[in-house]
Structure formats: C-alpha cells, structure tokens
C-alpha cells in the first residue's frame, strides 16, 4: 500500500489529474447509462408495465445494448445542414455537463478542484449547456429543430436567473462561494441543512433545475408530441447518443448540486451512532439518488406545461419569490435572534 502511494506521488501532476478525471467521468458515464435504465423501469412500474426485461437478467444489460446499437448506427448529416456546427453541437452540450463535476466535493477531502468560486463556476458552466441545444437547432436546418432551439434558449435564460438568485441565497447563508465550505456550513445534523431556512429557494432551485435540463414537465424544447423531437430531430447514431448522455449527466449534476447546497452533502442526518457509522460518501450518493428519482417521478406524473405558462412561472413567480427570500435571509441574519439558523 505504501509503495503504491509513493508511486502515485512520483507521477507528474498532469498524469495524477488525468487519473482523477477518469475516476470521476468513468463511473459518471456508467451511472448515466444505468440512470436511463432506471428511468425506463421506474416509469414502467408507475405505468403498471414491466419495462425493459429482455437483455440480460431483469434487463440489466439493456443500457449496454443501447450504447452498442447507437455506436454502430450511421450518423446522418442533413444535406443543407451546417456541417461543422452540426457535429460540434452535441459536444457543446456534453462538455459543460461533465466539466462541472470538477468542483463537486464528494466528501470533505474527495474533490478534484477545490476552487474558491466553485459555486459561480458551476453556474457558469451549466449556463453554457444551452449552446449545444441552440447550435444543434440552428445547424440542422429544420423547422422543428429550430423551434425547439428557440424554445430552449428562452426557457433556459428565464430559469437561469431564478436559479442564480437561489444560489445567492445559499451563498448568503453559507458565507462562501466554495461548495466544500457550503457543505461544511451545514454540518451538525439535519436541522442545520439549508433546505429548512431556505425552503422556498430549495423548491425554486429544484424546479428550475428540471426546467434547465429540459425535462418533463418543462420539455417543450423536445416536445415529441408537438415538434417531433425538437432540437435533436435530425440527429442519429452517436450524435443523438451524446445529446442523451448530456441530458442525463445534467440531471445527475443538478441532483448533486441540490444535495450539496440544500441537503447537507456528505453529512449524516443526525450525529448519533447508527447514522455516523455509515461513511459520508454513501450519504452523498444516497441523497443524490433520491433527488434523481424525483426527476423520473415528475416525468411520470405531470403533463407538459404550456409554453406561456412556463415563461410566466419563471419570470413572474420564481424570480419574485427568490428576491423576497433573499431579503428575508438578510434581515433574519442581522436583525433577528434567528440569525445563526440562517447561516
């Protein structure tokens, strides 16, 4: 063990970072693949169906079969499409979804880049995801793809503001932009987690996260019953697969961020024996799984929002709610005896 550690220390920094990046991206990709299976299974049971059960025991090899199928399919580029942008678009969608994981602290010490402004970094990167959608929609040279891109651009810009304000509330409560310090500010048990004092912001963040990832009930950018498949209607094979990966990686990312900012990250719900025996990593992934399950549950439960209602919800409900609650946090923190509770 010690020689292994010594060998690790001998490696150049760039190799060490590369290994760490692979150690995050690899399991993430597997998680994304099995998240798609989980979605089909969960929604299947919610619809009183069985879901995929043919490939492998209980359908467990289904994601691998899907991946192989998509890899060997021909990637068709429409005749009048803008070739370069058409190929770049899926990459533009996936890269931010993966890059944001660099600053996610899995436990107190397990973090790739412990950056001071990591909260801002995450917000900046998630806001870049829209380019993949917009560029894909435009480069496809198709009406439906273009409609999807326009819807998505307007929707993401609207919800990003609400999301950003929700994060302002978190940073006011934690007094830091560093995700690790934000989690440390919530240590001490469930009553210290930010979802209690910041409950409205928690809801706004979660719902904006669903809208930001273009998931049902806010999936008007895809809208298969209205505009076929929206922005990725012209994509096939790997191009389509990469969009798919980006969507699910984004959902997992939003779940992870919700856990970090509102649900105490790697902290156990109470600092008493049965809970503290379980390692922090388990708590982090457990909470992440619960939020990720919510995404699937929403999809099986809610009908799609009408477009103007989505816009109204974002601009006229969420932004005022966050603004009011930021004021509440500020006043509570400095002028009331509940200040310690608000961070």
């Amino acid at each position: 063990m010690t020689w292994l550690l010594a060998f690790w220390m001998e490696l150049p920094l760039i190799v060490q970072l590369g290994v760490k990046i692979v150690a995050i991206i690899g399991p993430l990709m597997v998680a994304v693949a099995y998240y798609t299976l989980a979605e089909r299974k969960v929604i299947g049971y919610m619809h009183v169906r069985i879901g995929p059960n043919r490939v492998g025991p209980r359908g467990l090899l289904q994601p691998i079969a899907d991946a192989v199928k998509l890899m060997f399919k021909e990637m068709i580029v429409p005749t009048n499409a803008d070739r370069y942008l058409f190929v770049i678009a899926p990459i533009l969608a996936l890269a931010p979804a993966l890059g944001a994981w660099a600053v996610v602290p899995f436990t107190d010490t397990l973090v790739l880049a412990d950056v001071n402004a990591s909260l801002l970094y995450v917000l900046a990167l998630t806001s870049m995801g829209v380019y993949g959608v917009v560029v894909a929609g435009w480069a496809s040279n198709s009406k439906y793809a273009f409609l999807g891109a326009m819807r998505s651009a307007a929707q993401i810009v609207a919800y990003e503001i609400a999301m950003g304000f929700a994060l302002v509330g978190v940073l006011m409560a934690a007094g830091s932009l560093n995700l690790r310090e934000i989690v440390l500010a919530q240590s001490g048990g469930m009553h210290q987690w930010f979802f209690i004092p910041l409950f409205p912001l928690f809801l706004v963040y979660l719902i904006s996260g669903v809208a930001e990832t273009n998931r049902s009930p806010f999936d008007v950018a895809e809208g298969e019953s209205e505009i076929v498949a929206g922005f990725h209607v012209e994509y096939s094979g790997m191009g389509f697969a990469v969009f798919f990966l980006a969507e699910y990686a984004n959902m997992l990312l939003i779940s992870a961020l919700t856990v970090l900012m509102f649900l105490g990250g790697w902290h156990a719900p109470a600092q008493i024996p049965p809970f503290v025996w379980i390692p922090g990593l388990f708590w982090f992934f457990g909470k992440l799984a619960v939020i990720a399950f919510l995404f699937l549950w929403f999809r099986a439960t809610f009908p799609r929002y009408r477009y103007d209602q989505i816009m109204r919800l974002g601009w006229k409900v969420f932004i005022p709610v966050t603004l009011v609650w930021i004021t509440v946090i500020g006043v509570a923190k400095f002028f009331t005896p509940f200040g310690h509770w608000f961070g």
Partner: protein
C-alpha cells in the same frame, strides 16, 4: 491546482528564458482569442460570427484566470457567454440575412470604415507609445498565497472604497430595467391578451358540460 500555478508565477518573475507552463497557456489562449476575434469580423455567416465571439469571450476569461482573477473570469463567462450571447444568438437566428445584399454595400462603406480603422489604430498606437504603459510604470503584481481569495478582495473593495460608484451603477441598471419593462407594458386595444388570473380561477363546471347522448338505437337515455 492553484498552489502549483502560483509557483510558476514566481518562476516567470525570475526572468526565466525558457517558456514556462503558464506562458504556454497564455500564448495558446491569446492565439485563440486573436484568431476568434478576427473570425468574428471576417466570417460571412452571422451565426458563426456570434459563436466565434463566444469563443473570444471564453478565451479572454481563461486569460483572466491566469491573472488569478477567478471571480471576474467566471463572471465574464456567466454574464456574457451564458446570458448576453444566448440572447444575441436568439435574435440573429431569427434574422433572414441576405449575404449578397450585405456584400453589395461593402464597397460603398469601405472608405468610411478604413478612415475609422486608421483613426482608431492611430489613437491606440499613441496611447501605447506614450510611455505610460509597460513594466516600468505598472510592475507585475506578485503572486498571492494559495488561500488568497480574489472574490473576497473584490467584494471588500467594492463595498468600501468604491461603494458610491457601485451603487450608482446599480441605480443606472435599475432605471434601465424599469424602462425596458415599461416598454413591454404597452397595450394595444385590438390585441387580445390572456388573463392568467382568470385562467387559474376557472373551474370544471365553467367550461365543461356533460351531455348524455344515445350511441345506438337500443341505448335509450
């Protein structure tokens, strides 16, 4: 990461002849930045031009990162790349740009464009050669310790030394927001707007009438 880059900053200060890692990064991003900026003004397709502008912003943000200004760098990406350019693209994509028509005006506007370009280049050269720039006037700031937070430093300066300028800027932005919103409040009498208030208040019995009808001759109601 940050600690290591700081070590390299010290190395560059020591007038090293070899190209350090930080310098290499600087030259890569500077090349991309200049190249992307050139493409913005030369490329024909406006959507591609806007996307090159995004690349230019992004490279500039990376350059700021090498100056240890992580807050400003990320804010540049967040505001300009994440919001402003998305709206830009939104508008540009809606335009039906006729490239032939655009090229027709090129020769006519060329003299005026050249004059403006020459004047701007001359002004820039005058400023650059005035002797007010360079390492003698503004020596390179020393690298900071690893626990130094650019975000905190910026916040402290903004809310103490420059608080009035900051508040003034905020006020101007507020006025702009109110002005922009008031423009959308224009109501034309002939357009029919939805009333979300009424839509939310509506109940099933207001809209729905269940009618019993015979579907076959023997099915009498």
């Amino acid at each position: 990461m940050r600690v290591r880059s700081r070590v390299r900053v010290r190395q560059t200060l020591g007038t090293a002849k070899t190209v350090t890692f930080l310098q290499l990064i600087f030259y890569i991003f500077a090349t991309v930045l200049v190249g992307a900026s050139l493409m913005v003004i030369t490329v024909r397709n406006p959507v591609r031009a806007a996307l090159f502008l995004v690349l230019a912003f992004f490279s500039a943000a990376c350059l700021w990162l090498t100056l240890e200004a992580e807050f400003l760098a990320i804010t540049l990406v967040l505001v300009y790349v994440g919001a402003v350019m998305v709206l830009f693209l939104f508008v540009i994509m809606m335009l039906d740009v006729n490239i032939a028509q655009m090229r027709a005006g090129f020769a006519r506007y060329l003299p005026l464009g050249l004059i403006v370009a020459v004047v701007m280049a001359g002004e820039l050269t005058l400023v650059m050669l005035s002797g007010e720039f360079g390492l003698q006037q503004a020596p390179r700031p020393a690298g900071h310790a690893a626990d130094y937070s650019n975000t905190r430093a910026l916040g402290e300066v903004i809310y103490t030394d420059y608080v009035f300028a900051f508040e003034l800027a905020a006020l101007i932005l507020l006025v702009a927001i109110i002005a922009a919103i008031s423009l959308t409040l224009r109501r034309r009498p002939q357009t029919r707007n939805q009333s979300p208030k009424d839509q939310v208040r509506v109940r099933k019995q207001d809209r729905l009438r269940v009618v019993r009808m015979p579907t076959s001759p023997q099915d009498k109601p």
